[in-house]
Symmetry: C2
Subunit: 240 residues, 2 copies
């Protein structure tokens, strides 16, 4: 090839940088990590309900991986609180109790408040993501797709945290939401769970757009209180 030009000098300065950023997106993951992701998905969608025992032999055979690899995947799930490991008994899909839910919502309050307080100085692109998520939730509600309303709701609140611009806060919120989905599974109706909160999300973005951060914080506070109580009472009824 006669075109022996220097790549590093021939392209725009940040091209190589962007390529480097894409490096970790490319394959390069390893079986254990992929197994962990599969199990995370199955747990989130309820295919592996809370309390389910994750037999090493059965799961290993089903996924076509060895027990050792599976056990590596389990470690990640344990750290994400999606699964509990009882010594010499195995791992089980986590069962949340009302105390867990209350604590999860306490953390949500801390995280989402942080995002809210950063709204004034936040990247406009991130503020736009809020609108997109709310609009998506409303569209899904119109279509009657209540599970999608649920994920749009969570996307909105994740976008709220993202206003802070902190990768670690983002990641923690993601993990928290994965855990929270365990509680959602206990709810009988996705519609009853998510419909009442559509309007509040809309109100939060509107108040934010109007520059009324304290007002938005107030609505958010009530949102979280009510959602927490709704789930907790449902769990108590289910448990009794």
């Amino acid at each position: 090839m006669g075109q022996d030009v220097d790549l590093a000098r021939s392209v725009a300065d940040d091209t190589l940088g962007r390529l480097a950023a894409d490096r970790d997106l490319l394959g390069r993951s390893g079986t254990a990590q992929r197994v962990a992701e599969v199990l995370r998905d199955r747990i989130a969608e309820g295919a592996l309900p809370p309390g389910t025992r994750l037999s090493e032999q059965a799961l290993g055979a089903a996924l076509g991986v060895s027990r050792n690899t599976l056990r590596e995947a389990f470690r990640s799930l344990v750290d994400g609180r999606l699964v509990v490991h009882e010594m010499n008994r195995g791992v089980f899909v986590r069962m949340l109790d009302p105390d867990d839910v209350t604590d999860i919502y306490a953390v949500r309050r801390a995280l989402e408040d942080t995002g809210l307080r950063a709204a004034a100085t936040a990247d406009p692109e991130r503020l736009a993501a809020l609108h997109t998520a709310v609009a998506g939730g409303e569209a899904a509600a119109d279509a009657g797709d209540w599970p999608e309303v649920g994920t749009a709701d969570l996307r909105f609140h994740r976008a709220l945290v993202a206003l802070a611009g902190s990768p670690r806060l983002d990641e923690y919120m993601t993990r928290l939401i994965a855990e929270l989905r365990l509680a959602f599974l206990a709810m009988p109706s996705a519609r009853a769970l998510h419909e009442p909160f559509l309007r509040r999300n809309r109100r939060i973005v509107d108040l934010l757009a109007a520059g009324d951060t304290p007002g938005a914080a107030l609505v958010l506070e009530r949102y979280l209180d009510d959602a927490c109580e709704m789930i907790c009472t449902a769990m108590r009824m289910d448990g009794a």
Copy 2:
């Protein structure tokens, strides 16, 4: 043993409850988890400096565990960000850059602010822990034990987060501190790192005791800004 009395009725009501809470502290852990804890300690104290490669064979032989068990332990460390896993290359003790430190301090701000805001309604026992930690730091400074000043400082700020009364927030703060220790290792002098902040911690508890939460928040804010910048500049000098 003739004393066949019913244990559950012979002791104060919450004794068994407390014992149950201690259950997970003793034994019952498994080799992989213990290995992970050992490695966490060694990394925190700098025996395994950032950038060190954690060879499976060498570490396995040194600790007397198999490669499989070691790899399980590595998963936990990866999730805790103490270590990075590069596919087909192995795991290395994490090297933080200034962006990481800045983000860690952003999260600290969110978490410790949350604790601070809960101070008014917090458990008195938890408020007492604040005083204990500050006093411990001052005593260590008088004794010239600067590493101990550092751990007392972190204990104080963990106690600050604990005011919120959230187990998940506590755990996250613990993990964050473990990560932050990686940055502390880059500092040449433990004294230079911790001494300037002793007075501020004292001031925070005093303001809190006086009921001046906003004042305490302001001091905390400056504390975190200054500490972050101090570490970041040190890292930049070290890297250049």
